[in-house]
């Protein structure tokens, strides 16, 4: 065979091979693209392909107070891990431990213990490592060290308003708000996760510009509370002082604006640090202001008298005869001091907190009307506050088989009746607000990152009593403070208020000495800016609300007036009376 012929043969063979390859390729492409199109398409669409789907986490909404102070936010921290099996020898391990120890705030020996088992693929060295430290660790260029980014909810003010805020737990299901506004507004704060479907890079992460589907995450909305951190701080400070001075086991204070129901401060002690919720017991998370019921005691006399005045059963100028004891439903009722006061008016009934007259008035009202008014004031039902875990409290009514007429007598001065501190505050706030019961609220506005905002509109629930009745009761409560509860006076301001002292119910009856002492009041009387309720449980120095709770009310009220820019009555009256510039022009 000549050379030329041999060459041509080889070329033909090569060309034929290339032709066969090309034909095979074309045939396969035709099969995928035309004849058997459905199979690869289904493979790609049902996750059998190499496409990767990644859930894009949204940022949880932030929480601010009324003045824009940051109360809850998200912080990026890192979990630091290492691979002991990739460490060559003991000397390397020791050197590694010595380098990492100061960065992680641990002893080298502690790190050595963690990496002692050379067969382990991964060990966690530390959690919640701040970004700065993580950067320093990354600069060490250890290939055996991993840094996992994590988001953590942080409360910069520690225990301030802990019950009001709640906290965020994390488990396998993700992050979830619990208690307080974190729990109530979970769906608003959480946001919506996005989805990214894309081809993976060599490390399995989706390639950003090769996204087949991209739904961006919607960050959670931000909450702006009606609570003011300054007011909250002073309330917590005064409450802590009250517990120290009175020896009380625990205490609660509620401060709200009667005209719109906005909660300015709400504190309960003892409390906890939401940053370290894992160190606390479950009982500590329950907010006593909305989730723990108590017997309000004589504070309820305000409701009893208001109901009787409003329904026309009694007259505001009527006098009553106080024999010192009365029997209702076979149950004897005495005044708190077991004294008889003879002829008394309604102001004295409220000022001296006479149980006998309260029971007399309730009997004259009759159970139907009395319980009707209790319900109108919101007892036995939720206030509707935007906080997680509220309980409704309750009381027996004639519809209950266990109810007896004696319950009517004891209910009239706040015994055998369960309510939360917030319920009591909201009920009396309706009197301060001219008889209009408002829904209490904590969140003033909800905003998103695009600048949209939804502002909470004050919501009237119902009228409890007429404006005239409310005004009359306010005048009586003002005189009661002036004449009887002197420790609740606030220099420069007219105050309306009522103390309460309730026995503590224990198994089998009432405790012989333990009480729940409280005081509720509002000021300035002519245009109430705030209502304050102070509740002290089991005080040791005195059992009476007028002795231990009233001074706390006065201290809080005095500082709040300065904080909220409410000048004393005389100044306001003087300023209001001043002629306007146009009026004095000739």
């Amino acid at each position: 065979m000549s050379v030329e012929r041999a060459t041509r043969l080889r070329l033909i063979v090569v060309m034929a091979m290339l032709g066969v390859a090309l034909l095979t390729l074309t045939a396969q492409l035709l099969r995928w693209q035309v004849f058997d199109r459905a199979t690869p398409l289904a493979y790609a669409q049902h996750g059998g392909s190499k496409w990767v789907q990644k859930s894009l986490k949204p940022q949880r909404g932030l929480i601010y107070d009324y003045d824009g102070m940051l109360l809850a936010c998200n912080l990026t921290t890192y979990s630091v891990g290492a691979s002991p099996n990739a460490m060559p020898d003991e000397a390397y391990r020791r050197k590694f431990a010595e380098k990492m120890a100061p960065l992680l705030g641990q002893e080298p020996t502690a790190i050595m213990e963690k990496i002692a088992d050379a067969s382990r693929v991964y060990v966690r060295l530390a959690d919640h490592v701040p970004q700065e430290t993580a950067r320093e660790i990354a600069q060490l260029n250890y290939l055996i060290v991993t840094l996992e980014e994590r988001t953590r909810r942080v409360y910069p003010h520690g225990s301030l308003a802990a019950h009001l805020l709640g906290f965020v737990t994390s488990d396998l299901a993700g992050y979830r708000g619990s208690y307080g506004v974190e729990g109530f507004y979970e769906s608003v704060l959480r946001g919506k996760p996005g989805i990214g479907v894309a081809e993976p890079d060599p490390w399995g992460e989706p390639i950003p510009i090769a996204m087949a589907q991209y739904t961006p995450p919607e960050d959670g909305k931000n909450l702006h509370l009606s609570m003011r951190h300054t007011a909250q701080y002073l309330v917590e400070r005064e409450l802590a002082q009250a517990l120290r001075e009175s020896g009380a086991e625990s205490g609660t204070a509620v401060v709200l604006q009667p005209r719109n129901g906005a909660i300015i401060a709400m504190a309960s002690l003892p409390t906890y640090d939401p940053n370290r919720y894992a160190d606390e017991t479950y009982e500590m998370f329950i907010d006593p202001a909305i989730s723990t019921i108590y017997e309000p005691g004589s504070v309820i006399k305000v409701v009893t008298v208001a109901a009787a005045l409003d329904s026309g059963v009694i007259d505001q100028n009527e006098t009553f005869y106080d024999p010192g004891a009365i029997e209702v439903g076979g149950n004897p009722i005495y005044n708190p001091d077991r004294q008889a006061y003879g002829s008394v008016d309604l102001t004295t009934v409220l000022g001296k907190s006479l149980n006998v007259e309260a029971a007399q008035i309730a009997v004259r009202l009759g159970p139907e009307r009395f319980y009707h008014y209790l319900r109108r004031f919101g007892f036995g039902s939720l206030t509707g506050v935007d906080l997680a875990g509220e309980v409704p409290g309750g009381f027996k009514t004639p519809d209950d088989p266990e109810w007896s007429e004696s319950d009517l007598g004891t209910n009239s001065f706040g015994q055998a009746l369960a309510a939360t501190p917030l319920q009591v505050a909201v009920a009396i706030a309706s009197v301060a607000n001219g008889g209009l019961l408002m829904r209490p609220y904590v969140v003033q506005a909800i905003t998103d990152n695009d600048g949209n905002s939804v502002i909470t509109a004050p919501k009237p629930i119902r009228r409890t009593v007429t404006a005239q009745t409310a005004h009359t009761i306010t005048r009586m409560l003002e005189r009661a403070v002036e004449q009887e509860t002197v420790l609740a006076r606030v220099p420069g301001y007219r105050v309306a208020g009522k103390s309460g002292t309730a026995q503590v119910y224990v198994a089998g009856g009432y405790h012989p000495t333990a009480t729940i002492a409280s005081f509720i009041g509002y000021l300035p009387v002519d245009d109430p800016a705030v209502l304050i309720l102070v509740v002290l449980r089991r005080p040791q120095t005195s059992p009476w609300g007028s002795q231990v709770a009233a001074p706390v009310f006065a201290r809080i009220a005095k500082e709040l007036m300065v904080l909220l820019d409410v000048p004393p009555d005389a100044v306001r009256q003087h300023v209001t009376d001043l002629p306007t510039p146009t009026a004095i022009q000739p």
């Binding site: 050379v3 030329e4 060459t7 041509r8 070329l11 932030l62 601010y64 009324y66 003045d67 824009g68 102070m69 940051l70 109360l71 936010c73 998200n74 912080l75 990026t76 701040p130 970004q131 700065e132 980014e149 942080v154 910069p156 003010h157 520690g158 301030l160 890079d201 390639i207 950003p208 510009i209 090769a210 931000n222 702006h224 951190h229 300054t230 701080y233 005209r259 003033q444 506005a445 905003t447 905002s453 502002i455 220099p491 245009d527 007036m561 300065v562 909220l564 820019d565 000048p567 004393p568 100044v571 306001r572 003087h574 300023v575 209001t576 001043l578 306007t580 510039p581």
Partner: protein, 133 residues
């Protein structure tokens, strides 16, 4: 003289340059140009593909780096906001104020300013809603 054709060694025949030379030598000039054009076209397409792939990879890396940077800045921002909030917390401010010799005010004094309407001021106070995220 008889023209004797000498056969070159096999190694020389199999040299790629020689193969092409011989192959092209036997082809029409037009065919050779066509093949050359196809080769050039394939090269161009390949070059375009590689360039595009490179640009995509580079852009991808840049996006990822930017995202990482954004995450870091946001995280740093959050850290600073927490720090600021901690420094502004009233317990710290009170502690610092006391250390500097300040004492809590026991009373406030109000001055009456002619023409200043308290009602208006109250209304403003009641209606204001500062939202400063």
């Amino acid at each position: 003289m008889k023209n004797v054709q000498t056969v070159p060694p096999v190694q020389t025949l199999l040299r790629p340059g020689r193969l092409v030379h011989r192959f092209v030598g036997h082809m029409e000039q037009r065919n050779a140009l066509g093949i050359l054009l196809i080769v050039l076209l394939i090269s161009l397409v390949g070059w375009l593909y590689l360039t595009q792939a490179y640009m995509i990879s580079a852009a991808n890396l840049q996006i990822e780096q930017s995202r990482q940077k954004l995450r870091e800045i946001e995280a740093e921002n959050a850290t600073l906001r927490v720090e600021i909030a901690k420094w502004e917390s009233l317990s710290r401010v009170e502690e610092r104020a006391r250390a500097l010799g300040f004492a809590p005010a026991t009373s406030a004094f109000y001055l009456s300013v002619p023409g200043y309407s308290f009602e208006e001021a109250s209304a403003w106070q009641a209606n204001r809603l500062e939202i400063n995220p």
